[in-house]
Symmetry: C2
Subunit: 89 residues, 2 copies
């Protein structure tokens, strides 16, 4: 085994946490259908930003960026979709 | 002026959008004090992840990572604080 690069381990932990963070939010929103306190500008800016991170990842051929942002992109899309679907409940 | 590196422009736009996205959420939460649909596990995982991104940015001496994650760190901390403060309202 090679030496573990602790800098990259920190980056990887960061990526896993900020990617996984949106999964409990998606689950909660899906179960409760409560979108009252989610900000619509936050959702579309975040979704658009994540799409750009994904394009950036493909252009840099960065597996970490592509993987993390593919998952976050799905979470961000679902939250945006739930916000539109449940906003008038 | 040198050539504009369009790949880095896409990365920069991505960073600006995903950083700025949390500002309308912080503003909305501050004004309405409504935290009902914000997921607590999302908030602490996201906050911890952003702290790690910031450390990663300092270790890599990346100005973009440090700047973007400093601002996001403040937003994430405020949302976490609002969630604890207003959860029982």
């Amino acid at each position: 085994m090679g030496n573990i690069d602790y800098v990259e381990v920190i980056g990887l932990c960061a990526a896993v946490l900020t990617t996984a963070a949106f999964l409990p939010q998606v689950y909660k929103t899906w179960k409760t259908k409560d979108v009252s306190s989610l900000s619509m500008p936050m959702l579309w800016m975040f979704f658009t930003g994540v799409i750009l991170w994904l394009i950036y990842g493909f252009l840099l051929e960065s597996a970490a960026l592509i993987l993390a942002n593919s998952i976050t992109c799905i979470s961000a899309f679902l939250l945006f979709y739930f916000k539109i679907k449940y906003r008038n409940r």
